[in-house]
């Protein structure tokens, strides 16, 4: 009963925070959603935002009291965009116990015993689709900034998780040039994936 009460109060708490979002916070959320669409199977902003709100409202994602709601929801949306399915797939291994039952007397369907959800054909196909989308979107980003050398450095640096000082040292950019290119790149990504992805 206590859990049900907690779930109800969590729903009220998140709903209340959503209702109190300001115009600039809604726009911040919209920009984040537009920017996070790349490399995902989400077709538009609404789909990604709805999925994130739904997880927060139903308690699948917990909002810690000490975190501002907008920070929590943008980080939650980032995790949703990163996708659980790929992580499950990467973490699983085929174990000896996953092998089909070879006992001819058994009336158990071997396919029922083989593998698990993460290794099911549906999941593998979906993961392959995600991977293809990710690779295609990466090409779109690289192509868009092809002739901007400073942005290219920033892109390479972020992808390889280099620090700002490492990128500056390697590229020969000044700190101002680096900051300017970084802003241009990170704030401009949302323009690359504005519409519904053709299915």
């Amino acid at each position: 009963m206590e859990n049900k009460n907690n779930a109800a109060s969590e729903l009220d708490r998140v709903a209340d925070a959503i209702e109190k979002l300001t115009t600039s916070e809604w726009n911040r959320l919209h920009k984040a959603a537009r920017s996070f669409l790349f490399g995902t199977g989400f077709s538009d902003v609404d789909e990604l935002v709805n999925e994130t709100f739904c997880r927060a409202l139903t308690g699948t994602r917990n909002w810690r009291v000490d975190v501002p709601f907008i920070t929590f929801i943008i980080n939650a949306m980032k995790s949703v965009a990163d996708g659980d399915r790929k992580l499950i797939y990467k973490d699983e291994e085929v174990l000896a116990t996953d092998l089909p039952n070879n006992d001819p007397d058994s009336d158990c369907d071997p396919l029922e015993r083989f593998g698990n959800k993460a290794l099911s054909p549906e999941t593998i196909i979906a993961t392959e689709i995600d991977r293809t989308l990710a690779e295609e979107d990466l090409k779109i980003i690289e192509k868009h900034f092809k002739n901007d050398e400073a942005v290219e450095w920033v892109l390479i640096g972020i992808e390889d998780e280099m620090s700002a000082s490492e990128i500056i040292e390697m590229s020969g950019l000044t700190k101002t040039q680096y900051e300017s290119a970084r802003k241009k790149f990170l704030r401009g990504l949302d323009k690359l994936f504005p519409g519904r992805r053709p299915k």
Binding site: K4, A8, L11, A15, I18, E19, L21, T22, T23, S24, W26, N27, R28, L29, H30, K31, A32, S35, F36, F38, G39, D46, V49, N50, F53, C54, L57, T58, I70, T71, I74, N75, K78, A81, D82, K86, D130, R131, A134, E135, D137, L138, I141, I158, E159, D160, E161, M162, E166, R182, K183, L186, R187, L189, D190, K191
Partner: protein
């Protein structure tokens, strides 16, 4: 520098982290100007998103209520409606007795 061959998914995760930090660091004014520069109306964005979110909240609340009702119905024994067994005369007598007290 990691030096490890990174997949597209790894690169996206790093990109999303950087984008998220950048968007959270923008001022309210930056955000509104950015929306206008992208040809968007910030008020319209806010109204539309809020309206959709409120619909979703209402639906989730309805589903929760429905689920609570179903659980209650399943848990409680069916209440049997009292059958009127008293005749009209008996009822009148009861009322008289009640006021006579």
């Amino acid at each position: 520098m990691s030096g490890i061959k990174r997949t597209a998914a790894d690169k996206f995760r790093a990109l999303r982290n950087a984008v998220s930090d950048e968007i959270l660091s923008m001022t309210d004014e930056d955000i509104l100007v950015d929306a206008r520069n992208n040809g968007l109306d910030p008020d319209d964005i806010a109204l539309t998103m809020k309206s959709k979110a409120m619909d979703m909240i209402a639906n989730i609340r309805k589903q929760k209520l429905k689920s609570i009702r179903e659980n209650l119905n399943a848990a409680q024994p069916k209440l049997v409606k009292p059958i009127a067994t008293l005749s009209l005369e008996e009822k009148k007598k009861k009322i008289l007795e009640f006021f006579a007290k």
